[in-house]
Amino acid sequence: MKFFVNRFVKNREVTVVIFLLILFSLVGLKNPAFVSPGNLMLTLKGSVMYIALAIGMAFVILTKEIDVSVGSILGMSAAVAATMLRNGSGLFSIIVVTLMVGIVSGLVNGIGVTKFKIPSIVMTLGTNGILRGLMFIYTGGKWVENLPDYFKQASQKSIFGNMNSFVFFTFIIMIIIHLYLTKARNGKYFAAVGDNLEGANLVGIKVNFMKILAFVLSGVFASIAGMVYVSQVGFVGNVAGNGAEMTAIASCVLGGVSLNGGVGSVLGATFGAIIMNSINTALVFLKVPAYWNNTISGLLLIVIVSSDALISRYLVNSAIKQRLSVKTESNGDGKKEEIGGEINEQI
């Protein structure tokens, strides 16, 4: 039992993948059309935007901060990109300007959190409101429509047979970032800052710089998600990206990125995003009315985080018990139960 529990916590990515496979096979049993290659690709295609958001969010959560402004950054970037597209700007300048939106927003968030010592949830909640309002001012409250076809068709292009180009590039980027975070020295700094701020500082890691970098990356990925949004949806409404930050956080949490900082990977966050998105498609294939979507996503999120909390508590408890029993045996005094009881309850 303990072996499996241990594996469950240590290899959260594996668990998430297994969960995803179970979800797909259960729905596939009920309706085989769900697991057809075409539909699987469609599901992945629909998740691209959320995967981008979740990857960016994972950086921030790894450093034990949170960014609830990504939904508005997405909306603002989408509005900027769409307006420039409509006005006939070149693709390169569109990408540069849109990414600047994310970089600047991330910089503001990061500087507010590190230099002005504003708690990240307060800071990003504030920038969320500001950016949402700025987006209204920028678009004048109107939809941005009539975009050129080449940009809209980019999201439909396939390479290597059936592979959607966006899905392909997302996975390439995801794998590169995963390798950077797990293998490279700088990459591990993010988790180090989130795991032990003081410790990271003492070892010489530029803590504030890493945090600002995390916020900037989160902003950049939100901007990328904004461009994906424009390409996939084809127009930008006033509420583009509204509430996307919650989906991104939920994806990270599902994928095992701990809000306590220092634990998790973009791989997990990616699979979390795919799960969050495929629930909606799965419900369609199960012929469940669409109004069940939120209930089921919410329920799933609660069940997973609750079991996570319970299991990790069980693990910590049993580890402490083990350590204590070894200690007390070697000491040979009879205080074993008393100490064990005390610490058990603390946790």
């Binding site: 507010g112 002005f116 800071m123 209204f136 001012i137 109004y291 209930t295 919410g298 609750s306 319970l310």
Partner: protein, 332 residues
């Protein structure tokens, strides 16, 4: 004592900010200064104020509740459905809606206190869940979530639109709740427990306080207050809709944090929250009266939140340094 003084100072600053706001908006639009307009402006933001009073409790214990927006919608739907579909008397639906809010809060509290899920994640999950519930209830009953349920009797609409001796009802409810929450948080043993849980959970446990139960109770309070706000909002708009409170989270957290409550818990107060919620409300109302579209207002609210917290953080963290420099200069 020093913390008390600091809080008092912050609240004085809030009063000045409020006065400044009223003067500025009065200069822009003189109609704003009429007593009636000011009194009735409370109707517009009373739901934010009511909820933030009790979300203060949650934040003082070190948690956060972002599901309150969904509970507003849920309670509104409960009122509408029970009245229209189940044939309840409209006033009989009110206790049911409050109960639904309390249960929703209890689920949040249970997840946070007993299961050990972080408050942010737990209430994020229940936010989806409760907003989902209200859509499901609407969907199963066959009514359109976009149109909502309307046509309630006049007596019910009067809860939010009526007045007693010229004072609008929401104002009275708000004032009563300020008094209740003030006594509860600052004058009772329970209130001290809430603070102690926020400052040091283990110390609370060692002094024989059931810290889990205290945490749970704060979520029940915030859930119930959200349900009450949902009822008032339903009565005010005369329509029961699942998406009534979806946009209020920013304003509620702004009100609590601007009111001087630490987002990390352990310190704060309801008077500050009440003042700050009025400031946020007047800001929305005043900007609207100044002719600025309501969609731009979130810029103002967001700026207010960041600037206030930044100033507060600066005054707390930079003063010792300035003081030290000053002392050094004098010594030399």
């Amino acid at each position: 004592m020093s913390r008390f003084k600091k809080l008092l100072k912050w609240e004085t600053a809030l009063v000045f900010l409020l006065a400044l706001q009223i003067v500025v908006f009065g200069l822009i639009n003189p109609r704003f200064l009429r007593l009636n307009v000011l009194l009735y402006s409370v109707n517009d933001f009373v739901s934010i104020s009511i909820i933030s009073l009790f979300v203060t409790f949650v934040i003082i214990t070190g948690g956060i509740d972002i599901s309150v927006g969904s509970i507003i919608g849920l309670s509104s739907v409960v009122v509408g459905i029970l009245w229209k579909m189940a044939g309840f008397n409209i006033f009989a639906t009110i206790p049911v809606a409050l109960l639904v809010g309390a249960i929703s809060g209890a689920i949040n509290g249970f997840l946070v206190a007993y299961v050990g899920v972080q408050a942010m994640v737990a209430t994020l999950g229940t936010m989806l869940l409760y907003s989902g519930f209200s859509l499901v209830i609407m969907g199963i009953s066959g009514s359109s979530a976009f149109e909502g349920i309307s046509g309630m009797p006049l007596a019910f609409l009067n809860i939010a639109n009526g007045n007693i001796f010229g004072i609008p009802n929401p104002f009275i409810i708000f004032a009563a709740l300020i008094i209740i929450s003030y006594i509860l948080l600052h004058k009772t043993k329970y209130g001290r427990y809430v603070f102690l849980v926020g400052i040091n959970k283990n110390a609370a446990r060692y002094s024989g306080i059931d810290h889990k139960l205290v945490t749970l109770s704060t979520y029940i309070l915030s859930g119930t207050s959200a349900a009450l706000a949902g009822i008032i909002l339903t009565s005010y708009l005369g329509s029961s809709r699942p998406d009534l409170g979806a946009e209020l989270t920013l304003s509620i957290v702004t009100a609590v944090v601007l009111g001087g409550t630490l987002i990390t818990g352990g310190s704060g107060g309801v008077i500050g929250t009440a003042l700050a919620s009025v400031i946020v409300g007047i800001l929305r109302f005043g900007l609207q009266m100044a002719g600025i579209s309501s969609q731009y207002i979130s810029v103002g609210v967001g700026l207010l939140l960041i600037v206030a917290v930044a100033i507060k953080g600066l005054s707390l963290s930079n003063f010792p340094m300035v003081k030290k420099l000053f002392e050094k200069a004098i010594r030399n």
